[in-house]
């Protein structure tokens, strides 16, 4: 039996999958992504880097979900698992199709997986390295149409021209190469490329981090505009907390491969429940010189934990100022708190944590 036929078979055999709520577009359950560490020429297994460890969250249709954390916390890994650039080690990635049936992206392969690549697209961080310098803008944007046999040459040209116009570029420029464009314009090409197959979910991996302030605001506004025009859902991965606050409805905070907190933007910033979130909030520079207050900043001692050799219990406990004995022994599960939020801390109810400084 060919691989393709087999996976089709598997798909039909399985019991219909369900999500916890009808409004969910994507539901990630117990997602694990482990990278093997090999040593020596015999590629002896030396352990695993647990880049994503038991990650659970969902994305509602039409919302923007933020994913924040320090570098190395696994936020990009989660994004790439959903886009299926990686094959997850374990877990489910449930995706609701346009016809309301649900598939588990984590188990799809080959041709079947390929049709979902049209639905879930990515925008990358660096507009310089994410565009092939040897392809024209037309070739870059239309590539996904070509490999999916979506339309003739003239149809593709019309579609690319339309999209370039939508993202604020002149359609006449489609035969130019990326070097002729500035950073902001290149990022617009990247946005057009993501939109070309009419996706439902776009994963923006640090999509504005490499841009200048004035250009960043342009791209953020563009993304918001396109969201309402094309009915898009965004997974917005960033380390920049002010950008996340601006664009996201709900935010997921990750620390060393695990989710520590999920809440709406306002709740998370004004009333964090996890000590790590509190530390993140207090580290954000306040853009008002009259509110300088260095004493109030929480200083995290030590370095971010090593995901191949994490500490016992709660991964954050060696740096946490509220840590008690239980924290080093028992890993806190991600549990639901009143107000539709989730937190992984033993003392979430007792702690009185401070949010971001108001201006």
């Amino acid at each position: 039996m060919s691989k393709q036929a087999m996976s089709q078979d598997k798909l039909q055999e399985s019991v219909p999958l369900t999500m916890k709520d009808d409004s969910y577009l994507l539901e990630v359950n117990n997602l694990k992504m482990y990278f093997a560490i090999t040593r020596g020429i015999m590629a002896r297994l030396g352990g695993y880097t647990k880049a994503a460890d038991d990650v659970n969250f969902f994305i509602r249709k039409g919302e923007t979900l933020g994913l924040v954390g320090e570098s190395g916390c696994g936020k990009t890994t989660v994004g790439r698992c959903i886009a299926r650039a990686y094959e997850p080690t374990a877990g489910e990635i449930l995706y609701r199709r346009a016809d309301d049936t649900i598939v588990d992206l984590a188990r799809l392969e080959g041709q079947i997986l390929r049709q979902y690549r049209k639905d879930i697209r990515m925008i990358f961080q660096d507009p310089y390295s994410s565009l092939n310098p040897r392809m024209t803008v037309f070739e870059i944007v239309s590539e996904a149409l070509k490999v999916n046999h979506m339309g003739t040459q003239s149809e593709m040209e019309d579609r690319v021209a339309y999209l370039l116009k939508r993202v604020g570029l002149r359609p006449e420029y489609m035969q130019r190469y990326p070097h002729a464009f500035s950073g902001g314009e290149r990022q617009r090409v990247g946005v057009a490329r993501a939109l070309v197959t009419n996706p439902s979910l776009i994963i923006c991996d640090e999509a504005v981090s490499a841009l200048d302030v004035s250009i960043r605001a342009q791209i953020l506004n563009l993304l918001e505009e396109l969201q309402s025009d094309f009915d898009l859902t965004y997974l917005f991965i960033s380390h920049d907390l002010s950008v996340i606050r601006h664009i996201c409805d709900r935010v997921v905070v990750m620390y060393v491969g695990k989710i520590v907190e999920v809440a709406s933007g306002l709740d998370l910033y004004m009333d964090p429940k996890h000590p790590y979130t509190e530390a993140l909030m207090s580290a954000v520079p306040i853009s008002n010189p009259r509110l300088r207050n260095k004493e109030s900043r929480i200083r995290l001692s030590g370095e971010i934990a090593d995901p191949s050799n994490p500490p016992s219990g709660c991964y954050f406990h060696p740096r946490c100022q509220y840590a008690k004995d239980i924290c080093s022994q028992e890993a806190p599960p991600l549990r639901e708190l009143p107000g539709n939020r989730f937190v992984a801390c033993h003392f979430a109810e007792e702690l009185d944590l401070r949010g971001a400084t108001m201006e």
Partner: protein
Amino acid sequence: MSELLLEVKDLKIHFFTDEGVVKAVEGIDLKIERGKTVCLVGESGCGKSVTSLSFLQIIHAPGKIVSGEMVYYRQTPDGTTWEIDLAKLNPKGRKIREIRGAEISMIFQEPMTSLSPLYTVGNQIIEAIRLHSKATKDEARKQAIEMLHRVGIPNPDRLIDEYPFTLSGGMRQRVMIAMALSCNPTMLIADEPTTALDVTTQAEILDLIQELQQQYGMAVLFITHDLGIVAEVADDVAVMYLGKIVERGSVDDIFNAPKHPYTQALLHSIPKVAMKREDLEPIQGMVPSPFRRPNGCSFHPRCSKAMDICSQIVPAVTAIDDDHTVQCLLYEDVASRAEVERAQS
């Protein structure tokens, strides 16, 4: 109280490329006082980094300081002050080498690429110390360990023999700072020192620089595009656009009473953590190519308050008050008119 350390007058730096002359810095004036923090803000390509490189005379060819002065008020141990024009010094001469790295030192954006991967951390710091003082190897090593300790590196006596690749980004930046401060400089140039770092690490490094600044009383020239950082660390701010300082003032003036349309637009285009979601007001268009600098005020094609005259006249530096200047025709008229009136009365 305020004592001048460095005064830049009408500095021009041009790059003579095959395609034409790029006027990276087009006549800027800047004053840096002892022990103060000056922030140079602007978008990429505005000339802020080139300006800072020129203080150390390390501009790469085809770049050249075309004209202007950079007067460095050097204090000798006996308390007298010498004036040295850094712009006139030979980039390879002895004098600038005495100053470079010892009295004026620099930390860069990417700590990985600015540390040599082939030498241990200790080697690199000891090299800087031994170049500028008569310390023996053992003394220099002790000083290096002491410096690493001061910048908050755990186990400095073990870490001194590590190679940079074994360190995290934040630790590398601490090593860079230790190296820059090892000779007790009077001025530290920090070129986007936290851009490559995480928020929590960024906050630590900013705190560290300020702490060390208080201890050593050095001046800091902080180059950044992040207005949030500016609000946190600056005493004075200079906003650059296309090789010119369009506005200069105290940090309070710049954030709470910005005058230049570009400064105002920059402040409106940053998302704020504590604010409700609302539309950002981006600046229209983009930074023009350095080969095709607009006539008149170089910001006028993107300016929301541009007048017809803006494309014809280059605005002069106009003083709003003692330490707040702006280069914009909106204010020039007002000021000159006021002056005329004052003369008449």
